[in-house]
């Protein structure tokens, strides 16, 4: 991910840098490898479901979602968007998907299958197949289906259940999901084997899965440490490091070491009461995708004493669970993936909050990370990162008396995010947070 270092108000973690570098390196290495003839797949973020299988089979993965973000942050997304409009896609579709469609249209039609010159990060070479996922939003599988207009590559859509909270606890419901998951992966492995013309190395998959689970457990523990006051790790470090765990970037053994080092550094800060910013006046929760193109914005807020202590559930590792007793790696994958979506359900049910995974975790975050407020960043063209936010705001207020500040933006149309406007709202929101601090005291909350 692209980040710009402005003022050094935020005390970044030293152990973050290798992880951030790793993500970029991994991407560039895969592009090289692909250009050198290694099989490549365009994948949608699939929450530890399809990725470990591809990884175990040495397939290079690129993520058009991220590529859209990169193109946007580098200010070159506009040409792709215009191409997509010209091809007849409505302007209000997901900006990442439009960028991806426009890019592919250019590559396949204008440049006869070659990566368009001056594409950021070396572009995305034509893949062997597309791996979409029905998780989280419709765009993420309809988009890859639409790519069929430009490329003669097959698409596999990973099934991803999303049951209601109370429905999840109907007897047998969860196991039915596990069964589908395992069967689905079995067929997927066969598909990948046929595409690659080679067999799965199951021992390798076993190892990959264990590492994936362990990396995410350590990463989870790192984030648990952020409950400390002052919070030792700022959201910016989270955003810089998360891709290594979420997208299984590069060598997982190496990642595991990096996250362990990070744990040590953060733990050390906790012991010394060192915060991520000089003076923590307010602890904030952030949702959803950050404005990658102007992260310096967080530094300006840090100057005001705003510390971002926890953020978007969708990029956080699942709550750890012990899968060591399960021998079948496909079942471990399936249960780990389901844990991502269902991990908060039991708690949500007890709280009688039928909001499902997309809103409920924020309640838990705000309560346990003791947030004074939430900054919600709906993205006009990204439905999945926006639709639940007004609801999240209501629930934070109704359940915890935690106020929210909403600041609109977009994933690729950078004009829609105006840092000045946003900062202009900081002052009144501080009054609001102060007000509800008192309210929470009155109502017996402990922060």
């Amino acid at each position: 991910m692209v980040t710009e270092e402005k003022k050094k108000v935020i005390n970044r973690l030293k152990t973050m840098y290798p992880l951030r570098a790793k993500v970029n390196e991994t991407y560039l290495k895969s592009i090289e490898a692909i250009n050198a003839g290694r099989p490549a797949v365009w994948a949608m973020l699939n929450f530890y479901y399809g990725d470990p299988i591809l990884k175990a089979m040495d397939v290079e993965m690129v993520y058009p979602e991220n590529y859209g973000a990169v193109a946007a942050a580098m200010g070159v997304a506009q040409q792709y968007l215009e191409q997509a409009y010209a091809d007849g896609f409505p302007t209000h579709l997901c900006g990442y998907s439009l960028a991806g469609l426009g890019y592919t249209s250019k590559m396949m039609r204008e440049f006869k299958g070659e990566v368009p010159p001056e594409s950021p990060f070396g572009g995305m070479p034509k893949p062997l197949f597309l791996l979409s996922s029905s998780a989280i939003c419709d765009a993420r599988y309809k988009w890859f289906q639409a790519l069929g207009r430009y490329m003669d590559v097959p698409v596999w859509t990973l099934e991803s259940p999303s049951p209601g909270v109370k429905e999840l606890f109907i007897e047998g419901a969860f196991e039915a999901m596990v069964n589908m998951g395992i069967k689905h992966l079995k067929d997927f492995v066969v598909f990948v084997e046929r595409m690659l013309g080679k067999k799965m190395d199951w021992a390798r998959l076993d190892e990959t899965v264990d590492l994936m689970i362990e990396v995410n457990r350590v990463w989870y523990e790192v984030n648990e440490l952020r409950k400390a006051k002052p919070c030792p790790m700022h959201s910016r470090d989270f955003w810089s490091a998360m891709a290594a765990a979420l997208f299984l970037a590069g060598d997982l053994k190496d990642s595991l070491q990096c996250f362990k080092d990070m744990y040590v550094e953060v733990k050390d800060r906790v012991n010394n009461h060192t915060g991520a910013i000089p003076e923590e006046k307010y602890r904030l929760l952030f949702a959803e995708l950050p404005p990658w193109h102007s992260l310096g914005f967080f530094d300006k807020l840090a100057e005001r004493g705003w510390n971002f202590v926890i953020e978007s559930f969708g990029y956080h590792p699942p709550i750890p669970l012990d899968l060591s007793g399960i021998s079948d790696p496909l079942e471990r994958i399936t249960r780990f993936n389901l844990q991502f979506f269902a991990g908060y359900a039991e708690d949500a049910r007890q709280q009688n909050l039928p909001s499902g995974s997309f809103a409920y975790p924020y309640i838990k975050f705000a309560r346990e990370w003791k947030c004074d407020g939430a900054m919600l960043h709906p993205l006009i063209s990204c439905r999945s990162a926006s639709t639940h936010l007004p609801y999240v705001a209501n629930m934070l207020m109704e359940n915890l008396k935690v106020p929210s500040l909403t600041i609109e933006g977009d994933i690729v149309d950078l004009r829609l995010f105006n840092p000045e406007d946003a900062l202009a709202k900081a002052e009144p929101f501080e009054e609001t947070m102060e007000h509800y601090k008192r309210m929470r005291k009155q109502e017996g909350f402990d922060w």
């Binding site: 207009r149 003669d152 209601g164 609801y391």
Partner: protein, 386 residues
Amino acid sequence: MSDKGLSKVQEIYLNRSQRAKELKAAGKKIIGYPCVYVPLEMLTALDLVPYRTYGDIKEPVTETDRALPTSFCSIMRSCLDCALKGKDDFLDGMVTIHSCDPQEKTARVWESYADYPYFHFIDMPSTVRPEAIEYFKSQLNDFRKTLEAFTGQKLTADKLKSAIKAHNQQRALVQQLYELTKPVPPLISGTELVQVVKALMSLPVAEGNDLLTQVIDEVKSRTDGPKKKPARLLIWSSTLDDTGIMQLFEAKANVVMDETCGGIRAYRSSVKLTADPLDSLADYYMKEITCARTFRQAALGETRKDYAKDLQSRFGYLEGIIKEWKTNGAILLLVRYCDPFAFEMPSLKDYLDSIGIPSTYIEYDYTIGALAPLKTRVEAFIETIS
């Protein structure tokens, strides 16, 4: 109440909830559903009255902003708005389904803001792979359990089978009714069809079937049918549930066929009965309803992609319809922020081009005010094809 089918249809169209409220007063339980993917057979089988909760294009959306952003399927925003305004308070329950994100997200909000004795959410996979259909069946089975708990009755295979028969009969009757748009000029207008379907989705299946029989008899022998217009159109949309929109098209053309869930989509084919009726339902709803939300491909797990075959597998069924109904143009009516249909549209246009059917793409945000500016576009399109 008039005994003539069409005028009865109009009464119901204008005052949809009246019959449901009468039935409630008579002790029946009314269950709302926002999407045609909800298997109504399972409600009918337990003598529950299915009632589709539509949006209202005439009603300015004022309550929904509390819970959903503006960049969200305009129809579900309106649908939720009606609920938040208490228009569906007479319901005894709601069945929602993960047919698309807006349905899913709205369901979450609906469940936490409305307060019905019964509320159930059915998860639905995106592909038609065997394991996905098996999972959908398990979801229907869970649905059965909560229904049985709610009604205190068992949902036996026999009850379900006879319910399926009743709904299949309704499907057959709607198919018959659409046969009556084949003549030139058609015997029934698209505007009237919208009213008929909306009426059907407000009534118990048996009453709906009686109404349909009356309507069909009346239409067959009517002399006051639609006039011949310069074009015969197919309307493709997620849903089209208001006569105002249809009239926009029918001012200068005959709408003789549609692909919307305010029209024939939920009735185009029938449930094939199998030993376990839940299998029949899982199979029908996953495979037979042609909404853009389902991921279809030429062959499961295909390792080679052929765009022509791909289009055929997704839209091939339209070719026969277009020929039989002699439609000479298609209007692709996109509801703003409907992602599944928005992504589908360019491919559908490719397909229609490939079979030589002119089409145009029109977008609106499900508000009355948005219709007027569309007039010129619709007329111009009709001028290009007539």
